[in-house]
Subunit: 353 residues, 3 copies
């Protein structure tokens, strides 16, 4: 990172070679960006105002380093898609923050996943708008809806964060302006919170974000809670994230371990998606993922890594690892994937700057 | 700002919470970017070549920090929409500058507005392509035309600027290449100038920019002149900007005051749009804005601010503060807004870096 | 360039005023970006890992400084269109590089052209997807195909570069993942190499890149070889680049000279496009360009320049210098340009930062 006076420039370029086999549909070899840490560019800074008061800004945008694309593809031009905020903070009173930011539920979920929700074994593998009924029904499956939907980040937010020194407690409140628009067009009217405690190897946290203008007048609830404990030889995580919309729900459960090994870390994960819907057939569309990885650190900033994972679908569920042949959950489609397995491995190089 | 050797990185993140009520249409609460100072990213630098000669570059692009978008939305990809220039300058002979830059009329108009044409009380509130006949007739009302139109910035410019030390005089000449295209497609063939004098508390200036390839073969004239005087306890501004196209014209008149108050400044403004058209009904579509604001500086770089404003429409005029429910000037439309009032307030936080 | 710790920010802003006359179709005066050196923004860095090992990243994106646009126009959002890579390098073993990068054929071709393939006299003047049969047949003439086609850069690459100290030898291997898509959609499945030797004023090199998923199942071959010798008073270059697709081929031959003159350099170039197709008429569509230029350096980073060039078409060939009135190779079209001349001159200012 380049830091001087008030501006710091940093980020990551992380690229991997990935191979995904989607059951009977065959396989594809590709190059993928951000499987260990999202490729990104960050420009940020803080200013000390005296008496414990400080101001700051943060601009953070995705880079798809395999093609050179930057920011969100939908809407075009959303360069700082990860975060664009301005803050006024006090060391004892906490921080007021305005702008585009992560939803609190993602922060908790990502924090308990040793894969940080990234790559072929990440805990967001079931965050799929076609295969998850709750997401698809609440937001639709168009690219705009997927990008705009508030299970990752949200625009037009006003947030309050607890100060750093509260005996291990951390947390935030968030409210977002719907601006008179719909979630499908990127205008999320919502509110939520995050609360956790960290200390002596233990980390427990819970969060919720409720979208008030999801499709058809129903609220969409995104809830997460979890805990991790660091035994030294292994750090164990257990977390659950629930997406609830009318009669549809997808419950993601994560059990994971991170084991220090030489200059790196071994990661093991199991994620299960338990779906409930209006019919027994919909409720049968469950799936689970098992994944493993090894990250070999060449320095604090640079690492080589290898991941392997497999998604197994029950019923007509059609979850798949990203990067393989296109799949469909529609039994009449030529690429119908219901109930099949998606297997993948990848090798990559991550460099933080 | 981060400055070293030849490159400086700076900019602003400015976000506000805004509430706009548009007469009978109701109100919207939103988050807005750039109400006190445009949220932006600037990369620039200069190189001393010796004998008073220097070279420089300037890249400046809008950030919509409420959503993370950067640059112009139309055309997509115009990241450095505010300015992209290369310069060769001499301390006594002046500066030759090539690229995309502000039109001289905006520089004068913005300079006399204590709100710098930004936010709910800015003097560009009547720069509306549907409600201003002269703009709409000359450039059309499509997003492309609005973005491309040369009342703010212009591409493909060749400019000459007077040197800094001329006994208070300042100014520029500008000519832009139309490149065989139309203004509606972003190809402006035009020319103009700016000339002013500043000293002893007084600032007087005038500017003109004529677009030679506006719609239907007519030239579009953008003219501005004004003066400000700093009495110490108050700085008063008076300015007028005229948009003239065939039989249509919109004359914007600004009377404003900036009053230092503690670590901040109180701002008061009155702007009137006097329209003349081919019919008496069109000539009746006038409007005026009254606005007030207070900017409280936490440091040179960081400030809190509050703005309030009201636009009152005469006849069937349908000007409105940005951010409210969509309005129409068409009497048959369900959101017809002719003759109604638009009222707004906003609170924000600005941070320069 | 701004350099500190691990991040360097640099680039170029280069703008010229250009005049192009296309035979009977008349002329256009425009402002053009990057005629001497591509206007661009670069963010890059390296990290020493010890024992000769290092990691690095490189982000490089085009700026169209005449309009402020950044990155590729198609696909939208490809900000780092020139290069986006991460590398792991060893001083004696060479470099492994992943990401979007230049194809090796362009590196050789551009290296032997004193105009670096840029501006009105550049050796890529015949890289035209409508007028070159081999390119048009292999990739199509849509904007997407032109942007995605692998004669300039390619996404999803895995590369190996020879280390720096090999007695003057330099070179690379490259393979790119097609990711199951078509070249027209930006998914190039290809492989190639570059090999050269440089020393004692001589530089010889050859390269090839074969696209395995070009249209209609045929491979597209891009081959280049050349040499330059620096006599001191003049540096002479001779190179040939061949695009071969089924029965169509375009053979570009370059003869050029660079002559140091005072604080600058005089450049002279002759480029010939010899086309062969399925019919005698197609084989008659040849063309040649003659060009001259003078670059006057104000410093290492800043220069003024002037270029002049003329393209002469044989048969129904319709090559033209970029920036003039639109031309067509279709004899029935009103802007049919077959067999005519395109003449151009430009004056510009380049500034590296």
């Amino acid at each position: 990172a380049l830091a001087q006076s008030s501006v710091t420039i940093g980020g990551t370029v992380d690229l991997s070679v990935r191979h995904v086999k989607n059951g009977s549909l065959g396989s594809i070899t590709s190059e993928a960006s951000g499987a260990n840490s999202t490729s990104k560019l960050i420009i940020r800074g803080t200013e000390q105002l005296g008496d414990g008061l400080s101001a700051g800004f943060y601009l953070d945008g995705t880079i798809l380093a395999d093609t050179g694309a930057a920011g969100a593809s939908t809407p075009a031009g959303q360069l700082w898609d990860r975060r664009a905020t301005v803050s006024l903070a006090h060391s004892r009173l906490g921080e007021l923050r305005l702008g585009r930011d992560w939803v609190p539920t993602h922060l908790v979920w990502s924090g308990f996943d040793p894969f940080a929700t990234l790559g072929i074994a990440g805990a967001n593998s079931f965050r799929n708008f076609a295969a998850s009924r709750a997401l698809g029904q609440a937001f639709g499956t168009l690219p705009e809806a997927q990008q705009a939907n508030p299970t990752l980040r949200v625009s037009n937010a006003v947030e309050y964060f607890l100060p750093a020194e509260l005996g291990g407690f951390y947390g935030q409140l968030i409210v977002t302006a719907g601006e008179g628009g719909t979630t499908a067009a990127g205008f999320t009217k919502g509110n939520g919170f995050r609360l956790g405690w960290k200390g002596k190897g233990l980390d427990v946290a819970a969060a919720q974000f409720t979208t008030r203008n999801a499709t058809a007048g129903e609220d969409f609830k995104d809830q997460v809670y979890g805990a991790s404990y660091d035994f030294g030889v292994v750090k164990l995580s257990l977390a659950q994230r629930r997406w609830v919309y009318a009669s549809d729900r997808t419950v993601n459960t994560l059990v994971a371990a991170a084991i220090p090994a030489g200059p790196g870390v071994v990661k093991l994960t199991y994620v299960r998606a338990d779906q409930k819907g209006a019919t027994a057939a919909l409720s049968d569309n469950d799936a689970h993922l098992i994944g493993a990885g090894y990250v070999y650190s060449l320095s604090k900033r640079t690492a080589l890594y290898a991941h392997a994972s497999r998604i197994s679908n029950d019923g007509a569920a059609s979850f798949a690892v990203a990067g393989g042949p296109a799949v469909s959950g529609n039994p009449a489609a030529p690429n119908f994937f219901g109930g099949q397995r998606s297997t993948a491995y990848e090798f990559g190089l991550r460099h933080d700057f």
